[in-house]
Symmetry: C2
Subunit: 240 residues, 2 copies
């Protein structure tokens, strides 16, 4: 019963969240809709919803096995997963290993420059403001999170980066950068939420540096659907 | 002899730095030139160089008395001060007490909103990049400063904020925000450098909230020269 969609609670750019009969669980539906540049560019990536649902579940299960608490409960259908009910913190946590996108622009680094150490960034989740880069002082001034929350975000994000980077290397993929969102459970714990997919990560082929993520959509590179499929194939094809 | 200008070492937007006969000292000349918006807006604020030289000296002397090491040695002429030779760190340190300017825009706060606690920000000094906001991870990735340097910058900036805010309140002035630059001496110490003036601080009248700083130039509010003069008058007129 609890795996049946209840009221729609929230519709985002790529997902819809529904209540379920279990007050501790939500159902997340993954759409094919794609947006970029804060919603300015819109499109459809055929089959994306299904792939991102599966890919996210795959990463959440991997992380759970490695001791990271996530909101993931189980896959329900090709496009739906059951998750723990959380209140999303209004902070996007970004980890970067290689300069690309906004970091390359911000710091004047050539795209592809390997960073001396992982870079952690916080962005204020606010479409009207364009999700601005913020620091810990801004977060305190706006009361977006406590210092204890921030310590968890930083520690978990860097740990997740280490786990995913190592895992993806065995799939001949470089984890260039990725965005995480965290949520607070009804018990007050802060755990990993949202999704982990080619929508929220930059994946490059380890050998060819080919982009296998949403940058193919953002930059009109073609082969968008194929890139998402290729990620799924690498994850499930086993290590080389 | 050492107070005589030697070779010109650097010309910035508002100051020129000269060598002196003493290898440990530079001579700083304060210009009337004013720029805003990363050099897009240019103008002259008549008498600014003289006022900013005196105002900066006044603040540096106050801070030295309160235990803050600065590059200031002595006033040499109406527009010139002798300073210790330092290598400026490529980081602008900004402290904010009240939302204004880019912070108000970035966070969507009404200008004038008092922040719950002082906000500290780092900007990468790079005109071509537009002096972007950066965080500690960017600073490490770019090797702009060591973690030990950063600890000094944060501690000194917040201490300077407390000293100046308290002092200015006795002059019926609010210290809204300000930008500091630090430099490394030939002995390796990191000390306060650059200037502290209406070019680098936002000062508001405590009672009327009237702007008494470079925002009058940036925003074409008129009464620019008078504002700089008023700051000097308040600093030297004694406490009320």
């Amino acid at each position: 019963m609890e795996k049946v969609r209840g009221d729609q609670l929230y519709e985002g750019k790529a997902k819809i969240v529904y209540a379920t009969a279990n007050p501790e669980h939500y159902l997340v539906y993954y759409k094919d809709d794609a947006t970029a540049f804060n919603g300015v560019k819109k499109g459809i990536i055929s089959g994306k919803g299904e792939l991102n649902n599966r890919i996210s579940a795959h990463f959440f299960e991997l992380l759970e096995r490695r001791g990271i608490q996530t909101h993931f409960v189980e896959l329900v259908s090709p496009r739906e997963m059951l998750v723990r009910k959380v209140t999303i913190l209004p902070i996007e946590v970004v980890v970067r290993n290689i300069a690309a996108g906004s970091l390359a622009k911000r710091l004047g680094l050539a795209e592809g420059t390997t960073l001396k150490q992982p870079v952690l960034e916080y962005y204020y989740k606010d479409d009207d403001l364009g999700d601005p880069l913020i620091n810990e002082y801004h977060i305190r001034a706006l009361d977006l999170a406590t210092d204890a929350d921030l310590a968890i975000l930083a520690e978990q994000a860097l740990k997740i980066n280490a786990i995913l980077s190592e895992y993806l290397a065995t799939r001949r993929l470089k984890l260039v950068d990725f965005k995480l969102e965290f949520g607070r459970t009804t018990q007050g714990e802060v755990i990993l939420a949202d999704e982990i997919s080619p929508d929220t990560c930059r994946f490059w082929d380890s050998d060819t540096q080919e982009k296998l993520d949403k940058d193919r959509f953002r930059r009109d590179l073609g082969g968008v659907e194929e890139a998402y499929q290729e990620i799924w194939r690498r994850l499930t094809g086993g290590a080389e």
